[in-house]
């Protein structure tokens, strides 16, 4: 091989390596990963089969779909529906009652007893290994006609 060709190859390798290092330190690849995953989602291909598996492919938030806050009901229990991370420990606490269960799916639905009057209810979701829970607060008024 001629000297000039060898020098050109060496320089090419050097510049290529430098360019790669610069890209690694920017978000370029992460954006590419996200774009690829979004394409896979659009094609309904499970992410678990994708070469770039998303780290956060389950929900990591707690939401309460039902009931609405400050709702007035005329019964002594309420259905609480919501979404929480799969396998998280759900603790629903009020001054007079509590419900504890492991969230098997991402959505949950549970019947919760109410006392007459204002019920301050807090829904906690504990993720494995994390001592700080996700939480949502509700105030439900059970004002059944009692004299």
């Amino acid at each position: 091989m001629k000297k000039e060709s060898l020098v050109a190859v060496i320089f090419g390798l050097l510049f290529g390596s430098l360019f790669y290092l610069v890209l690694i330190n920017t978000n370029f690849f992460k954006r590419e990963q996200k774009n690829l995953n979004e394409q896979l989602i659009n094609k309904n291909i499970p992410l678990s089969l994708s070469p770039f598996k998303k780290i956060e492919d389950t929900i990591q938030t707690l939401t309460i779909d039902q009931p609405k806050n400050h709702l007035v009901v005329n019964k002594n229990s309420i259905t609480i529906k919501g979404k929480a991370p799969k396998k998280s420990l759900i603790i629903i606490q009020s001054p007079s009652s509590e419900k504890i269960f492991e969230n098997q799916k991402e959505s949950f639905e549970v019947e919760f007893p109410l006392s007459y009057g204002a019920n301050q209810i807090v829904v906690f979701s504990y993720l494995k290994g994390i001592q700080t829970p996700l939480l949502k607060k509700l105030t439900i008024y059970s004002l059944e006609n009692k004299l």
Binding site: L89, P95, E98, Y116, G117, A118, Y126, Q131, T139
Partner: protein, 233 residues
């Protein structure tokens, strides 16, 4: 003879025509008579469905407000809630009823039995932060929080907790405090004594809240102890 035959034929044609007209009238009357009864039944069913749907929507959209009384002037009560929001409750001498919640039921009281600082719930027509109250209930407010146990005083029966809001709260453990330990195997609750609480455990607790001020120390109504081993899984 021929004329008679012709006359009979014409007469028969006339009779046949009239009978057709009559038959058509009778038939159309029958068609209009039976649907009206069916229609009435359908209308009744529709009315029932609409009525139950309206009731369902009313139940889903029946809201109340609650807070501590900040000011009472004539027929206007101002309350502040835990979030610092203010509501103005308009009362009426005839329409508004007053109750107190005692032992899981309501007891009617006089308007002058509610005072500044009381925690009340008001229901009625809500418009923004104004409410025209049909009913006012004097009730108790509670606070539910969680945090990590950072100190235990076995002589004076209190524990110090660092809450999620990074505030230090001292909880007095009374004889009436319900204490439960969460089993990390089957998530059941077991009633335990004060000695089972350890530093580093997480605690979910409920305390009475008598005003909007920040609480630094209170007696615990109930608490659930989550052993720190649960978080080491």
């Amino acid at each position: 003879m021929k004329k008679i035959k012709q006359s009979i034929i014409v007469l028969l044609i006339f009779l046949f025509s009239f009978s057709l007209v009559g038959f058509k009238r009778i038939y159309s009357q029958q068609i209009t008579a039976s649907p009206s009864a069916q229609e009435e039944e359908k209308i009744d069913q529709l009315k029932e469905k609409i009525a139950s749907k309206v009731a369902e929507i009313q139940n889903e959209n029946n809201f109340g407000v609650s807070g501590y009384i900040d000011n009472i002037k004539d027929n206007l009560i101002s309350i502040n809630n835990d979030l610092g929001e203010t509501y103005h409750i308009k009362t009426d001498e005839v329409i508004t009823k007053y109750y107190q919640v005692i032992n899981n039921r309501r007891q009617e009281i006089e308007p002058n039995e509610i005072q500044k600082g009381d925690f009340i719930v008001a229901t009625g027509i809500i418009d923004g932060n104004q409410i025209e109250a049909n009913n006012i209930y004097k009730d108790e407010n509670f606070l539910i929080q969680t945090g990590q146990v950072i100190e235990i005083n076995k002589d004076e029966y209190w524990i110090k907790i660092n809450t999620l809001e990074k505030e230090a709260v001292i909880l007095d453990i009374e004889t009436y405090t319900k204490k439960f330990l969460l089993s990390i195997q089957d998530y059941r609750l077991e009633s335990v004594g004060f000695s089972k609480i350890k530093e580093g455990d997480s605690v979910i607790f409920a305390i009475k809240k008598t005003n909007n001020k920040q609480i630094n120390r209170a007696s615990a109504i109930k608490m659930i102890i989550i052993p720190q081993e649960f978080f080491l899984k």
